[in-house]
C-alpha cells in the first residue's frame, strides 16, 4: 500500500466537489423547508411565511437559529449515546446518497477532465439502496433510545414501512436496469442523452412505483406515519429537542432533495436539457445548462412532493402495508416480467 502515490490533484478535486455538493444540498434542504411552507400556504389560500426578510426569505435562517438556541434536553432514562447517534445517522445517511449522483457532464479545467460526480461506481443504484436501508437505523435508534413507547412504536412503523417499500422500489428499478444494462448512474444518464427518449417513456409504470416508494422512503405525506404529528405525538423524534430535532427534520428534506435528484437522473434524463443538442454547445455552457436542467427537474419533482403532501390525507397503517405489499410489489413484478419479455423479444 503506497499512500503517497495518491493522485493529489484528484483527491483535492473530489474534496472540493464533496464540499460543494454537501453545502448545496444543505442550502437546498434549508430552502425546501421554506418552499414547503410557501407551497402549503398557497395551496390553502394563504401567503406562507413572509415576515423574515423580503418574501420571508430569511425564514429558514430564523428557524435554524431558533433550533440552535433551544435547550437541549436528553431524557433521563434514555440511552445517551444512542440518543445522540440517532440524528447523526439520519443526517449522515441523508448526505451520503449524494455521492453518486452525476450533477453534470464532464468539464475540462486546466487540462484535467473533471466529472461533476463524486464517485462513478459501477454499482451506483445499489449503493443508493444500501444507504437508504441504513437510513432506517437513524429512525430506529432514535426511537428506541428515547425510551418512550410512542417513539418506539413510531420507529417500528417507520422501519417496517421503509423496508416494505424498499422492496417495491428495488423491483421497479430492476425493470429499468434491464433496459439500461448498467447500474452506474452516469451510464444511465448518458444513454438517455444519446438515445432520443428519457427512461420515463419506456418505464411509466416503473416510474410511478418508484415515485410512490420514494415518497414512502422519505417519510413524506401521505406516508408520513413514522412522524404522524397528530397521532403519535411527532413519532420517533418526540423526545428530541433543539438541533437534534433539527437534524431529523433536516434529514427529511435532504432525503427529499436527493431522492428527487435520483428520480430525475433515472427517469428524466439527469443533466440532459430537453430540446437542446449538448454536443453543439461549448464545454462550459453545456455543463452549466446540464446542471441547470438537472436542478430544474429536481425542483419540479420537489414541488410535486409538496403538492402531494398538501393534497392527500395520511394513510392508515394497514392501508399503507396493503398498498405496499399487495399493490405495488405485484405491480412491480408484473412490470418486471413484461419488460423482460419485451427486452428479450427486441433483442432477438
Amino acid at each position: 500500500m503506497n499512500i503517497l502515490a495518491l493522485d493529489w490533484a484528484f483527491a483535492i478535486e473530489k474534496m472540493v466537489l464533496i464540499a460543494i455538493v454537501i453545502s448545496v444540498s444543505l442550502v437546498i434542504a434549508m430552502y425546501a423547508t421554506y418552499a414547503e411552507r410557501k407551497v402549503a400556504g398557497f395551496i390553502q389560500d394563504r401567503h406562507g411565511p413572509n415576515r423574515a426578510g423580503p418574501f420571508g426569505l430569511l425564514q429558514p435562517l430564523a428557524d435554524g437559529l431558533k433550533l440552535f438556541f433551544k435547550e437541549e434536553v436528553i431524557p433521563n432514562h434514555s440511552n445517551k449515546w444512542l440518543f445522540v447517534l440517532g440524528p447523526c445517522l439520519a443526517m449522515l445517511t441523508a448526505m451520503m446518497t449524494s455521492a453518486i449522483i452525476p450533477w453534470g457532464g464532464t468539464v475540462e479545467i486546466g487540462g484535467r477532465m473533471i466529472d461533476l460526480q463524486i464517485a462513478d461506481i459501477n454499482i451506483g443504484i445499489l449503493y443508493v439502496f444500501g444507504v437508504v436501508s441504513m437510513g432506517v437505523y437513524g429512525i430506529m435508534i432514535g426511537g428506541w433510545a428515547s425510551n418512550n413507547k410512542f417513539s418506539l412504536m413510531a420507529a417500528l412503523r417507520g422501519a417496517s414501512q421503509a423496508i416494505s417499500y424498499e422492496l417495491a422500489m428495488g423491483l421497479s428499478l430492476i425493470a429499468l436496469l434491464m433496459l439500461t444494462g448498467s447500474l452506474s448512474l452516469k451510464t444511465i444518464v448518458e444513454q438517455q442523452i444519446s438515445g432520443n427518449w428519457w427512461n420515463i417513456v419506456y418505464q411509466p409504470l416503473g416510474f410511478f412505483i418508484f415515485f410512490v416508494c420514494a415518497l414512502a422512503e422519505c417519510n413524506r405525506a401521505p406516508f408520513d406515519l413514522p412522524e404522524a404529528e397528530s397521532e403519535l405525538n411527532m413519532g420517533y423524534h418526540q423526545e428530541y429537542s433543539s438541533m437534534k430535532l433539527g437534524f431529523f427534520l433536516f434529514a427529511e428534506y435532504i432525503n427529499m432533495f436527493i431522492s428527487c435528484a435520483i428520480i430525475a437522473t433515472l427517469f428524466f434524463g439527469g443533466y440532459d436539457m430537453p430540446f437542446v443538442d449538448e454536443t453543439k454547445l461549448s464545454g462550459m455552457t453545456a455543463l452549466l445548462t446540464g446542471v441547470a436542467a438537472l436542478f430544474g427537474k429536481t425542483f419540479i419533482l420537489i414541488f410535486v412532493f409538496m403538492w402531494i403532501r398538501w393534497t392527500l390525507p395520511r394513510f392508515r397503517y394497514d392501508q399503507l402495508m396493503n398498498l405496499g405489499w399487495k399493490g405495488l410489489i405485484p405491480l412491480a413484478l408484473l412490470n418486471m416480467v413484461v419488460t423482460a419479455a419485451i427486452a428479450l423479444y427486441t433483442m432477438k
Binding site: 500500500m1 499512500i3 440511552n79 444512542l82 461506481i121 459501477n122 454499482i123 445499489l126 449503493y127 439502496f129 444500501g130 437508504v132 436501508s133 441504513m134 432506517v136 437505523y137 430506529m140 435508534i141 428506541w144 418506539l152 420507529a155 417500528l156 422501519a159 417496517s160 423496508i163 424498499e166 447500474l183
Partner: protein, 160 residues
C-alpha cells in the same frame, strides 16, 4: 494499511458483539462488523458483494433483529445463558465452526495473490452474474426454491 484497519475494526466490533451486555448494543456492533466486512469486499474489488452485504444483512436482517430485541424489551438485567452447560456447549460449537472454517480456507493460497494485487474481477457484477447463471445455475435455483418454501412456510404460520 486499509486492510489492517478494517480487520481490526471487524474483529474488535465482533468481540464487542459478544461482550456487550445490552442486546441492542450487540446488534449495533454487529452492524459495524458487517460494514467492515463490506470494506474487505471492496478491497477485493467485489463492490457488488459489498453493497449487497450491506443491503441485505446490515440493512434488512439487522433491522429485523432490532425489531425483535426492541419488542421483547430485553435488557442487561434479564440476561439469559445462566446455564453453565449451555455456555459449554456454545464454546464447543463455536470452536468446531472455527475448525471447519479454517479447514475450508487454508487452501485459498491462490486467491491471496489476487487479493494482494487488487486484480480480482470475480466480484464485479457482470462476472458474478455470468458465473452464477452458467456454472452454478442449479445450486442457485435450488437455494431460491429454498427461500420460496421458507416464505410459503412463514405465510402458512402467519395465517394460523
Amino acid at each position: 494499511m486499509l486492510f489492517w484497519f478494517l480487520t481490526v475494526m471487524a474483529l474488535g466490533s465482533a468481540l464487542m458483539v459478544v461482550f456487550s451486555k445490552n442486546p441492542v448494543h450487540s446488534i449495533l456492533w454487529l452492524i459495524v462488523t458487517f460494514f467492515s466486512i463490506s470494506g474487505h469486499y471492496v478491497l477485493l474489488n467485489a463492490q457488488f458483494l459489498a453493497i449487497v452485504n450491506i443491503i441485505v444483512y446490515a440493512g434488512a436482517i439487522m433491522v429485523l433483529f432490532l425489531f425483535v430485541v426492541m419488542m421483547m424489551n430485553l435488557n442487561d438485567i434479564s440476561s439469559p445463558l445462566k446455564n453453565k452447560w449451555l455456555k459449554f456447549a456454545g464454546v464447543i460449537s463455536g470452536c468446531s465452526l472455527l475448525l471447519v472454517l479454517i479447514a475450508a480456507l487454508k487452501d485459498t493460497g491462490t486467491m491471496q495473490q489476487e487479493v494482494l494485487l487488487n486484480t480480482g474481477k470475480i466480484g464485479l457484477i457482470n462476472n458474478l452474474g455470468t458465473v452464477l447463471f452458467k456454472d452454478y445455475v442449479l445450486p442457485f435455483e435450488i437455494s431460491s426454491v429454498l427461500f420460496l418454501s421458507a416464505m410459503v412456510g412463514a405465510v402458512v404460520i402467519g395465517k394460523k
